[in-house]
């Protein structure tokens, strides 16, 4: 895989993401791309929008970054089918930029939440083929605005199109109000676009790729991508 990792002013999980991508890619690091750049490398097959607080998230989360020069280019490539992985603030940016439907509202508890959660893998795609459908994985979240919301029509399309990637669940894979971390509709933790080429999720699989720091349940996602793009 040939990945481009976009850094905005205020991104802060680009290093974590770089480590996870590099490990899954046989030691080959992604290409770093600065938000002010207007071009992406020609031959890339994956674009990654990492977590953080782009532009301080002083407006709506991700709203400013969605209008930065590089995002026009990201949209063009995404339209051509280049895979996009958008995590946490990256997911917020992808929604604001129209790459994914819906919006991330402040958590129902109105607090930042940093903790390990259980996710249920809802469908197998180029991003998740190394997992089993219905498998539960433990990965951390760290966000204040992860409450996924969309209009009923969008939710129906997501459900009917098998476009929900992950849901907040318990260790047995049960999805309920009790396992709903932040108020997200249908416990949604991550979604795909219609072609399943863009994945946005609030949790941080990149922080679960090391046995000594956070466990290894996130490795499957990066290995899936690397295998799909090899």
């Amino acid at each position: 895989m040939k990945a481009a990792l976009i850094t905005f002013p205020g991104s802060n999980r680009e290093r974590d993401m770089r480590m996870a991508l590099t490990r899954a890619n046989g030691g080959k690091p992604p290409t770093d791309v600065w938000h002010g750049d207007s071009e992406l490398p020609q031959d890339i097959d994956l674009i990654v929008l990492p977590g953080g607080f782009s532009y301080g998230d002083y407006l709506r989360c991700g709203a400013m970054a969605a209008h930065s020069p590089i995002m026009r280019e990201v949209k063009k490539r995404a339209d051509r089918g280049v895979r996009v992985l958008a995590v946490c603030n990256g997911f917020q940016i992808a929604c604001e930029a129209g790459l994914l439907p819906g919006v991330l509202m402040p958590n129902a508890g109105l607090k930042f939440i940093c903790r390990e959660v259980t996710l249920r893998v809802e469908t197998l795609t180029a991003f998740t083929r190394k997992y089993r459908k219905g498998q539960t994985i433990r990965v951390p979240v760290a966000h204040h605005d992860g409450n996924y919301t969309a209009d009923p029509d969008t939710i129906r399309k997501l459900e009917d199109g098998d476009l929900v990637a992950f849901r907040y669940a318990d260790s047995l894979g049960n999805v309920s109000d009790e396992t709903n971390l932040n108020g997200s509709l249908r416990n949604i933790a991550g979604i795909y676009n219609e072609k399943k080429t863009v994945l946005g999720l609030m949790p941080h699989p990149e922080n679960a790729t090391d046995p000594l720091c956070g466990g290894t349940d996130g490795i499957g996602l990066f290995e899936s991508i690397a295998e799909s793009l090899s």
């Binding site: 002013p9 205020g10 802060n12 974590d16 301080g56 760290a142 922080n207 956070g214």
Partner: protein
């Protein structure tokens, strides 16, 4: 100055916090009456906050040297060698007064300030910690202050992308009108790439970078050097406003510039802003400095020289660059969308000259002002010893008392707090909050990690400042040891009341003495620190609170120990002597309703012997879980290990009164576990290293059983432990 001349002095109406004697010295140094800008500069430079005038005499007695100390106190932060060409840079600093007035911004800018102290020296900040003290839980303001402070620390730390990995919280009525917010940052740098603040090079450009200067925080340092009264909330305009996004950019821009050869000296603008940064840089380098205040980037129009010099606007740095490197430096700061301005140059006059609108608005000699600031030998009285603890009546059965204690405000889980902090960002957090010490891997190093903790037991310090000072240092040392780290050095954050009162000054002197003894005995020097005095409201002081931040190194992170019980059927072993000291224990206070007796004595020799033994057991891979005994004593330590592991145990306490043995807070103790078949080997190894060790029982089951006392389920312990803080904050208690 002669008596005759003194009488002729016409003191200004507003001395800006200076005393008459200090104003006399101003006249002496200036040889004339200062103008308002100059007087303002004297006022902040000689404030307690900037000058340490009450504490200096005593701080000088602290041990600050060891072969691994690269830089001790006196710079922006302390620097220690952690091997392999790497250095750890750290410091803890208080933001107490602003946090009481405006908890969110006060705490947030406290984090921002300590981060700058660390990255100013060339370090990438890798971890934040904090030590918080609030008033009684039933005080009407406590909930609001706790919520605001936690929100502020998270709001700033989460955004800048530095994990907040550890801390401590206490509640006590003495903090009702004066909370404590102490923030610590740990950073990493190459040992041969440390940046200092001494200016050098005649004519070299003085450069301002970061945020623009506004009118916020003017005279914050003076405010922080006075007691509170009922009108303190009117001081809100002296509190600064934080912008973590700009700080994040400033970190990246500074580290990028530091990778070049452009910087001669660098200093952050903290308390007393442009005044103290420029003075300290010039003074340390023996240089003069000329500043053109028109060139300072301003956030608002119409600012006066006085406001420029005394503003405490955040996220600003001052640098001296090598001539000719301005363009390269400016390009980096522009890339990060930050302000950059050459605002002056170095001279050889030894004076600070300020210009504004083509006029000279200030001219002060640097050395007399910065280095000859007042030093007081304040009168003090030794804290009288507490009478011995009399007979204690135990109102509750043992098991019920244990259930209450694990859910008590000072002992319950802090999860509600630390889950609001991003403790994982950067991907190197090997031990998350909730254990004895946080552990963060050293980036790009295959094995090495840093362990860090903050500790202090203010009720001990109040009862006996010397023993309390020792205990605070020893507890950090123990917590680092309990995760397997070699403790290396500390930062001290001394929070006390009004030093002009001899009893308060006596607490300070006693605590310093205790810290000194512990540092010497444990070979564990002080490399940085901060003093916060005048923590009083309406004449009532806080408990003396010398918060200690300790840092240690794990050469191989794979050997790291954690406190959770791991497997059923493992042997539980107690290391250290148990005498059953109930004086000043949490049990005595929270269950028996007494704050009485002397605190547990600290035997530093036993601390060293027992700690070295535990560390050796960890490194040899002989133990599966390790936890130190502190607040709540042995019974609470066992309960904490059970709750963390979701597994019970059956134990027999050492002989004696069960309440004293179970809840006494004797020092220098650890609980470890190991495979049952290896128990004799572990006991023998500990004894061979001189550490008393005895078997208490076995892990297993879903309840914690104390022989002869009863049983409590792990689920019931967890419910009490996890329940209190969320319920309290939700207003249910």
């Amino acid at each position: 100055m002669s008596e005759g001349a003194k009488k002729a002095v016409n003191y200004p109406k507003d001395l800006m916090g200076l005393t008459h004697e200090e104003y006399d010295r101003v006249l002496e140094i200036m040889g004339r009456e200062p103008n308002q800008v100059e007087l303002g500069i004297f006022s902040v430079m000689w404030s307690e906050h900037c000058s340490y005038k009450s504490s200096k005499k005593w701080l000088k007695t602290l041990p600050t040297k060891a072969p691994w100390v690269i830089q001790g106190p006196g710079e922006n932060a302390g620097v220690i060698d952690i091997g392999d060409g790497l250095a750890a840079i750290f410091k803890m600093e208080s933001h107490n007064h602003p946090s009481f007035i405006e908890p969110y911004q006060g705490a947030a800018t406290g984090v921002g300030g300590i981060l700058r102290d660390v990255f100013t020296m060339g370090a990438r900040p890798i971890a934040n910690l904090n030590a918080l003290r609030f008033g009684s839980p039933d005080h009407p303001k406590t909930r609001h202050l706790l919520s605001g402070v936690v929100h502020g620390i998270g709001g700033y730390g989460n955004c800048v992308g530095v994990p907040t990995v550890g801390g401590e919280v206490n509640f006590h009525p003495s903090y009702n009108g004066n909370i404590l917010v102490n923030a610590m940052t740990v950073g990493l740098a190459k040992a041969d790439r440390i940046f200092y603040s001494a200016a050098a090079g005649l004519g070299n450009p003085v450069v301002y970078v970061g945020s623009r200067t506004g009118r916020d925080g003017i005279h914050g340092a003076t405010m922080a050097s006075a007691e509170f009264s009922d009108d303190s909330e009117e001081k809100r305009p002296t509190v600064q406003v934080g912008d973590p996004f700009t700080e994040k950019l400033l970190i990246e821009a500074c580290l990028e510039l530091m990778a070049t050869d452009a910087i001669v000296a660098i200093q952050d603008m903290g308390a007393a802003g442009l005044t103290s940064s420029s003075f300290e840089m010039a003074s340390k380098g023996g240089m003069g400095i000329e500043i053109d205040l028109d060139k300072v980037p301003a956030r608002e129009t119409g600012m006066t020289p006085f406001e420029f010099m005394l503003s405490e606007s955040q996220e600003r740095m001052l640098m001296v660059l090598k001539p000719g490197s301005e363009k390269q430096a400016e390009a980096i700061f522009r890339k990060w969308e930050l302000d950059f301005a050459v605002i002056g140059h170095l001279t050889d006059t030894g004076r600070m000259v300020l210009r504004f609108n083509d006029e000279q608005v200030g001219d002060l000699p640097i050395d007399p002002l910065a280095q000859a600031s007042p030093e007081y030998d304040r009168p003090w009285v030794k804290t009288p010893p507490q009478p011995p603890l009399g007979k204690v009546n135990h109102p509750l059965p043992f098991i019920e008392a244990l259930g209450r204690l694990v859910g008590a405000p000072d002992l319950c889980s802090r999860r509600w707090i630390w889950e609001q902090y991003d403790h994982l960002v950067r991907g190197d957090t090997a031990q998350v909050p909730g254990g004895d010490a946080a552990v963060v891997r050293v980036e790009d190093h295959p094995k090495k990690a840093l362990a860090m903790t903050v500790d202090c037991t203010p009720r001990y310090c109040f009862a006996d400042p010397v023993e309390g000072g020792k205990q605070a240092v020893a507890e950090t040392w123990r917590n680092l040891t309990a995760v397997g780290a070699r403790p290396l050095a500390i930062t001290d954050n001394m929070n006390f009341g009004n030093p002009e009162r001899p009893d308060i000054m006596g607490q300070f002197v006693g605590a310093v003495e205790g810290i000194r003894e512990a540092c010497l005995a444990l070979d564990y020097p002080v490399v940085s620190g901060n003093v916060s005095l005048y923590n009083e409201t309406n004449g009532k002081g806080i408990l003396p609170t010398p918060a200690i931040g300790g840092v240690g190194v794990l050469d191989d992170v794979a050997t790291m120990a954690t406190l959770a019980f791991k497997l059923p059927g493992e042997a539980i072993i107690l290391i250290g002597e148990t005498r059953g000291h109930l004086g000043q224990s949490i049990y005595l206070r929270d269950i028996c309703g007494q704050e009485a007796g002397p605190p547990p004595p600290v035997d530093l020799k036993a601390e060293k012997t027992n700690g070295d033994a535990v560390r050796a057991l960890i490194h040899k891979g002989m133990v599966s879980a390790v936890h130190d005994c502190s607040d709540g004593g042995l019974a609470v330590a066992l309960a904490e290990m059970a709750m963390a592991g979701g597994m019970g145990a059956e134990v027999t306490l050492p002989d004696g009164d069960a309440f004293e043995i179970g809840f006494g807070e004797d020092q220098a103790r650890y609980v470890v576990t190991c495979p049952a078949a290896k128990a004799e080997e572990v006991l023998a190894a500990a004894e061979a290293m001189g550490a008393p060790a005895r078997k208490l029982g076995l892990t297993g089951g879903d309840a914690l059983t104390f022989a002869g006392q009863g049983t409590i389920s792990v689920a019931a312990l967890q419910a009490a432990h996890e329940g209190w803080l969320p319920r309290y904050m939700a207003g249910e208690l």
